[in-house]
């Protein structure tokens, strides 16, 4: 039985592994694999954590207040809770430097999707126009993902952008604010569609409304942001847990992969450093798949060439969805009671098309329920006592639209490495130079504000933010799929054009980055790669 070695346990890695195991292959997975801590008081709801924990402030803000969002330049409207710290921690051997880009990298078991909000939207033919295949190729693999992870959805206007799958689960109950937005949309729909190309519907979310294998349906504890104790919100670590019970699967955490060794066009092994003691290890297999995330997989490729030849190369074409965060106030919800027993992330998604379909703008609308209060009130233009009074009166009316734009490969956006002076490996370096999307951003912002106005909402002046490049954490494009045999590209099946037994299972292979959250497509594409991988 041939063995495939996979680097990384994120959304791509675990679904590639599952597919290979189902095809009778053996899988060895190397991973830093930082573990999610056990959830506190698994049956308690959001407010129950505050009343029943011995030290709730330490839980919500960290033992030293690390999660307090202070009033700094560019402070966001939310903070990451300490229970998610493991997602963003790095091993000591890893260092990165970036300009024009704020990279977010994960070494967690399960990768970055351990901290996602579960938005899953298939790409359509228009968005796959630069890919060497269309929707019909990916469709069966999307359907497999739907069955594996459980996705809730309903048939609505978003179907024009997001093709339908029969195995979707029925959607969760909407919170009162989201329900009101949908009601207003139903009345304002013709004008919004015709004048603004604006469509609204229920989010497609990887959260369970029915039990699925080891995972339990959502029972509205309101703890989504702090880590669902019922695993209702899908995270790749759930799949990893299943894989670890399979006899053909071997998982080796605690290993930081630095590079691969090769002979001619054949990869001969993977070199890794133990996180615990710095010892070096070598692993070999019949074929290799990099699924460490776009930035880390790029670094592994570059460092491999550097270790063998001494050459420092660059991979160009790094992509990232520009993200806007547009807070709003729904005037019809002023003074309403806030219901924390609800699904906390986005329940509504939006789509805007004004031109070609690959220029589709995607967004998700979250209504504010159990999020932290202090990051929000400090942004209101009043003293904090007044801000708190206003916040209480408007809490049930607050929401935020997160909106993403597509990105194209640009030679100015580069991933490279910098050898360390002591000869001990390399640092990851990112240079993101392309910053010419101001017109698109301004136009999209105007459209969303006008649409929100027609839905009975106002955007407070000065509160909408354009996030820096890198903030979307949707990275792709450094080793794109290509039918032509070119250096640092891969085949339509994501096999390297440079190394005959090396596969790229994550976002590096995307030749274009549509506005939709890419995780669903990463999982489907990983399954496609697993299906196509020759014996």
């Amino acid at each position: 039985m041939s063995t495939i070695l996979i680097v990384g346990s994120g959304a791509s890695g675990v679904h590639l592994a599952q597919t290979l195991l189902e095809r009778g292959r053996a899988v060895l997975m190397l991973d830093v694999g930082l573990e999610r801590p056990a959830p506190a008081l698994p049956k308690a709801d959001f407010n129950g954590l505050k009343t029943r924990l011995d030290d709730p402030v330490a839980y919500f803000l960290g033992p030293s207040g690390e999660a307090v969002v202070f009033p700094t330049e560019g402070a966001r409207y939310y903070g990451f809770p300490p229970s998610k710290d493991y997602v963003f921690a790095s091993p000591p051997a890893f260092r990165a430097a970036a300009s024009g880009f704020e990279p977010v990298i994960s070494f967690a078991a399960g990768g970055l999707a351990e901290a996602w909000t579960g938005g899953v939207y298939p790409l359509n033919d228009g968005e796959l126009v630069d890919f060497p295949f269309g929707f019909s190729t990916l469709a069966p693999h999307y359907a497999t993902v739907v069955r594996r992870i459980g996705i809730t959805a309903t048939r609505d206007d978003l179907e024009r952008y997001s093709p339908w799958f029969e195995d979707y689960q029925e959607p969760l109950e909407t919170d009162p604010h989201s329900a009101r937005l949908l009601e207003r949309y139903a009345r304002a729909r013709p004008g919004l569609n015709k004048d603004l190309g604006f469509y609204l519907g229920r989010s497609r979310v990887a959260v369970l409304s029915r039990d699925l294998e080891d995972r339990n349906e959502c029972n509205y504890l309101g703890r989504c942001l702090w880590g669902c104790p019922r695993e209702a919100l899908y995270a790749p670590s759930s799949t990893l847990k299943q894989l670890r019970r399979h006899p053909g699967f071997r998982y080796l955490p605690g290993l930081y992969v630095t590079h691969f060794t090769y002979d001619g066009d054949t990869v001969t092994g993977i070199a890794a450093t133990a996180v615990a003691d710095g010892t070096r290890h070598q692993f070999s297999a019949d074929a290799y798949a990099l699924a460490a995330g776009t930035l880390c997989s790029s670094k592994i490729l570059l460092e491999s060439i550097f270790q063998r030849t001494g050459r420092v190369l660059e991979l160009s074409g790094l992509m990232d969805n520009r993200q806007m965060m547009i807070p709003f106030l729904n005037l019809g919800m002023l003074g309403q009671v806030v219901e924390t027993h609800s699904y906390q992330f986005h329940q509504i998604a939006l789509g805007i098309t004004r031109g070609r379909s690959e220029e589709y703008v995607h967004g998700q609308i979250s209504t504010l329920k159990a999020a932290a209060v202090h990051p929000v009130v400090q942004n209101l233009p009043f003293d904090l006592r007044s801000s708190l009074a206003i916040f209480r009166a408007t809490h049930g009316a607050l929401g935020v639209a997160n909106v993403w734009l597509h990105d194209r490969r640009d030679a100015r956006n580069v991933v490279t490495i910098r050898p360390r002076p002591n000869g001990e490996g390399t640092d990851l370096v990112i240079r993101y130079a392309a910053d010419d999307d101001a017109d698109r951003v301004a136009k999209t912002m105007r459209t969303v504000k006008r649409a929100l106005w027609r839905l009975g909402c106002v955007v407070p002046p000065g509160m909408a933010k354009v996030l820096p490049h890198g903030a979307s954490i949707h990275y792709a494009g450094t080793v794109p799929m290509s039918r032509e045999h070119r250096e640092f590209t891969c085949t339509p099946d994501c096999r390297s054009h440079d190394f005959s037994n090396l596969y790229f299972a994550d976002g590096v292979s995307f030749p274009f980055l549509p506005a939709k959250n890419l995780t669903f497509t990463l999982m489907a594409n990983a399954i496609r790669i697993g299906d196509a991988l020759p014996n």
């Binding site: 402030v57 002023l334 009043f382 904090l384």
Partner: protein, 164 residues
């Protein structure tokens, strides 16, 4: 319940003594909630100064004066806060008050003040908003009269950092 390793009376990392921080905590909690803090809140606030120290910008003389003024009572806190929101929104007073809110919103007995939302009445909500905005304008006006001249008279000179 967590315990503190700091001795009572010893100057804290911010340079303020523990009794001074406890007084500050009591005033700020009254300002934000109309109630006194419990021991847990006080402990968390005094220990939380490290987070302020670690990250806050250096303190100007005016920043320090603003904190001292704010500690004199809840109404003075409101005046100082309204003034700080407009004229030094990233100063140390705002850092301390935001730390205070972060602690209170996660503490049993106080958290409902922050997360409960409205009572279902739109007119009542509109009145509350109007009242809060009016109070802010009055506090800001008082702040401009009381604190403005002090800031203009050289309060911008660099003073002792919060902890450095």
């Amino acid at each position: 319940m967590p315990s503190s390793s700091d001795s009572p009376g010893r100057p804290d990392a911010t340079g303020e003594s523990r009794p001074a921080l406890e007084r500050e905590c009591r005033t700020f909690t009254r300002y934000l909630t109309g109630r006194d803090p419990n021991d847990y809140v006080t402990l968390k606030y005094t220990n939380g100064q490290r987070a302020v120290v670690r990250n806050a910008p250096a303190v100007s003389l005016f920043d320090a004066a603003l904190v001292r003024f704010a500690t004199l009572g809840p109404w003075r806190t409101r005046i100082a806060d309204a003034y700080a929101r407009v004229f030094c929104p990233r100063g140390v007073l705002r850092w301390k008050l935001i730390l205070m809110i972060a602690i209170l919103e996660n503490t049993k007995g106080f958290h409902q003040n922050f997360t409960a939302g409205g009572d279902g009445s739109r007119p009542a909500a509109a009145l509350r908003i109007a009242g809060a905005v009016t109070a802010f304008i009055l506090a800001l006006g008082a702040g401009v009269l009381v604190l403005g001249p002090r800031q203009l008279l050289g309060g911008q000179a660099s003073g002792r950092g919060p902890a450095r």
